[in-house]
């Protein structure tokens, strides 16, 4: 039938692409969780040992949980900080909004790595903020301020994510019919009330999308913690990465990734049930 042909032309390329380059590797990853070693003869031995190891490692599970909680707060704060930006762009910036949005987005074109290095300069012992803190008596001489800690990880990640959160929230706000605000004023709402009762609920899908945009990758984050996290900022992603690139324990790494995947999927499924898929899309 004509409709079916159209559908298959549209969907087949991406379906095949995702099947071969994503689903297949993912299945390979699942297979790996049952292998004893990463390569060579040991990789052909079937074992549940990694499952046993992981499930009995309370400390590791604790770290996963702490990383999830940490990501939750990072996402929440990013959303709170980005929301007014998106609001300003959508309702107040007028025709300059696309330009202003782009100004925010292109900061991501400077390598993440370089921006983190710059933060280290700002936050480090001889950095600007340390000097300021020192002169205010908040910090002793030469002490790095705010760096090598979980707080530094949080700050840096929030910095990195703001543009990416602003985008879906902006998109969510853009979809709100301005007459709805007028209706709210008309019904006697003050401006803050109109915001709380009309704008905020209507923009919620965008907010949730923005939250997830941050939350999901943050749970698996490892670069930032390794650069500014010190001993307290270690996240689950660091340990996962270690399995892949240092220990070369791909089976355990795959298993830990799966665990992370499941933890991350739970809020996603909840969000998908609460909101329509397209509302979550952003833009």
């Amino acid at each position: 039938m004509e409709e079916r042909r159209r559908l298959s032309i549209l969907i087949t390329p991406s379906a095949i692409f995702m099947l071969v380059l994503f689903v297949l590797p993912l299945l390979i990853m699942v297979v790996y969780t049952f292998r004893q070693g990463s390569f060579g003869p040991t990789s052909r031995i079937f074992t549940l040992a990694h499952y046993h190891d992981f499930l009995s490692d309370r400390a590791l599970q604790g770290l996963l949980w702490r990383s999830v909680v940490q990501s939750f707060w990072i996402s929440l704060i990013s959303v709170c900080l980005a929301y007014p930006v998106a609001y300003h762009l959508s309702f107040q910036a007028g025709e300059r909004k696309m330009t202003l949005l782009t100004i925010i987005i292109v900061t991501a074109w400077v390598s993440f790595l370089l921006r983190i290095l710059a933060w280290k300069v700002l936050l480090g012992g001889s950095g600007a903020i340390a000097s300021l803190a020192q002169s205010l008596g908040l910090s002793e001489e030469g002490m790095p301020f705010l760096i090598y800690s979980q707080e530094a990880v949080n700050l840096t990640l929030i910095y990195v994510w703001i543009p990416f959160v602003a985008l879906p929230i902006f998109a969510g706000l853009e979809r709100i019919d301005p007459s709805l605000h007028e209706a709210a004023y008309d019904l006697g709402c003050s401006r803050p009330e109109a915001f709380v009762r009309v704008t905020l609920p209507l923009s919620l899908p965008g907010v949730v999308a923005g939250f997830l945009f941050v939350f999901i990758p943050t749970v698996g984050e490892y670069v930032t913690p390794s650069l500014v996290g010190g001993t307290t900022g270690v996240m689950f992603g660091n340990i996962v990465r270690d399995q892949f690139v240092r220990a070369l324990n791909w089976p355990l790494g795959s298993l830990m990734s799966l665990a992370m995947l499941i933890v991350v999927l739970i809020p996603l499924v909840i969000a998908a049930r609460l909101f329509k898929f397209s509302d979550l899309a952003g833009l």
Binding site: G40, G142, S226, V245, A247
Partner: protein, 361 residues
């Protein structure tokens, strides 16, 4: 709003960009090329001095003979080789060499094809031998020790064991490497890092956990190892390489590169040839060029790394010679505990220990 116009112009921009890029982006694959799995910074295209004879022989177009796949950690290189990434030459460090040999990832080297082989330090060359056959050509080597800001520490540590002293609380930077920390801790507590028992593993783990209050952060790349002491954030960078010292010293900081009572750690890296290499002669030419006297001198002068070629001394900066104790080649091993090959299992244990240390609160 003329968004459409803006957007269509942007699209035009992009298409134009793609057109320009596609004109310049293509590369041709040719025969008679070497693909080298290499740390970045050693590539001949950036440092032709490191491969003098090779560059001389092939002139300006020598770069066309070489392709590089870069890696940042030995594990990454090993993983790539294990997943059949096609490389003709590989440049791992010696704790990994055994794995390459056992898994048939390198072929025996016919040292007679290397004109400069006779200049290679026999002690280092011996490390590249397995079952009496030469599999690796040692090229560069170096130390791992403590880099100390002498003006900030109350007292300069003299041994690895001193790191556990509370006076350094919050000012030590450890390398984010399970293997290195394991070895360092073993040395500190009189354990032979290359011959350990499960009890040793547990002991070392506990010691590392005990060390955590003294630790400011884990450094994972070399820029951090340079930066940490210079900003003063860290007073002691553990397992720092000597070039970090060189950089800090030449930048005018009061630093010392400690000779710990328990010996420094030492590493050696070298070239191995893949069994699948198509152009074996070219591979030998490349390796031979790398261990030529002039090449090795250039390497030492640039990075402060030890050359495997003992003949290169003459052209090396005397300061480097003195610091690296290159003129006392025979006695280096007495003061240095060189890394030794470890098995895959040991590696996982050591990384596992380190992960547990990091996870512990």
């Amino acid at each position: 709003m003329k968004l459409q116009a803006f957007v269509s112009r942007s699209v035009l921009f992009v298409l134009l960009g793609m057109f320009l890029v596609s004109c310049g982006g293509g590369q041709a694959e040719g025969d008679g090329k070497l693909t080298i799995l290499e740390w970045s910074g050693y590539e001949a295209t950036e440092n032709p001095d490191f491969f003098g004879p090779f560059v001389e022989k092939y002139g300006e177009t020598f770069g066309d003979k070489l392709d590089y796949i870069f890696f940042a950690e030995d594990a990454e290189a090993y993983a790539k080789i294990q997943t059949d990434v096609a490389a003709d030459l590989v440049h791992p460090c010696n704790s990994w060499w055994q794995l390459y040999v056992d898994n048939g990832l390198v072929q025996e080297i016919d040292t007679t094809k290397l004109s400069n082989w006779s200049h290679v330090n026999p002690a280092l060359a011996a490390m590249g031998q397995f079952d009496g056959k030469q599999y690796f050509v040692p090229w560069d080597w170096g130390y791992e020790s403590m880099l100390v800001r002498t003006d900030l520490v109350p007292e300069v540590p003299t041994s690895w064991a001193d790191l556990w002293d509370p006076q350094y609380a919050g000012h030590i930077a450890l390398w984010d490497s399970g293997e290195a920390n394991y070895a360092m801790t073993a040395l500190a507590f009189g354990i032979d890092p290359w011959n350990t028992t499960p009890e040793d593993d547990e002991f070392i783990k506990q010691k590392l956990i005990e060390l955590k209050p003294n630790v400011l952060t884990y450094w994972s790349d070399y820029t951090e190892a340079y930066d940490l002491p210079q900003t003063g954030d860290a007073w002691i960078v553990v397992n720092a390489w000597q070039d970090a010292y060189a950089n800090a010293d030449s930048s005018g900081y009061a630093v010392e590169y400690v000779q710990p009572a328990e010996k420094r750690l030492g590493w050696v890296c070298g070239f191995g040839i893949s069994p699948n290499t198509a152009d074996l002669d070219l591979a030998y030419e490349y390796i031979d060029a790398s261990i030529a006297d002039s090449s090795m001198a250039a390497l030492a002068n640039t990075y402060w790394y030890g050359p495997s070629n003992t003949n290169a001394l003459a052209d090396i900066d005397p300061y480097v010679v003195e610091f690296m104790e290159l003129d006392q080649a025979a006695s280096i091993q007495e003061r240095t505990s060189f890394y030794r090959p470890i098995t895959e299992e040991q590696r996982q244990i050591r990384t596992g220990i380190w992960d547990e240390v990091k996870v512990s609160q």
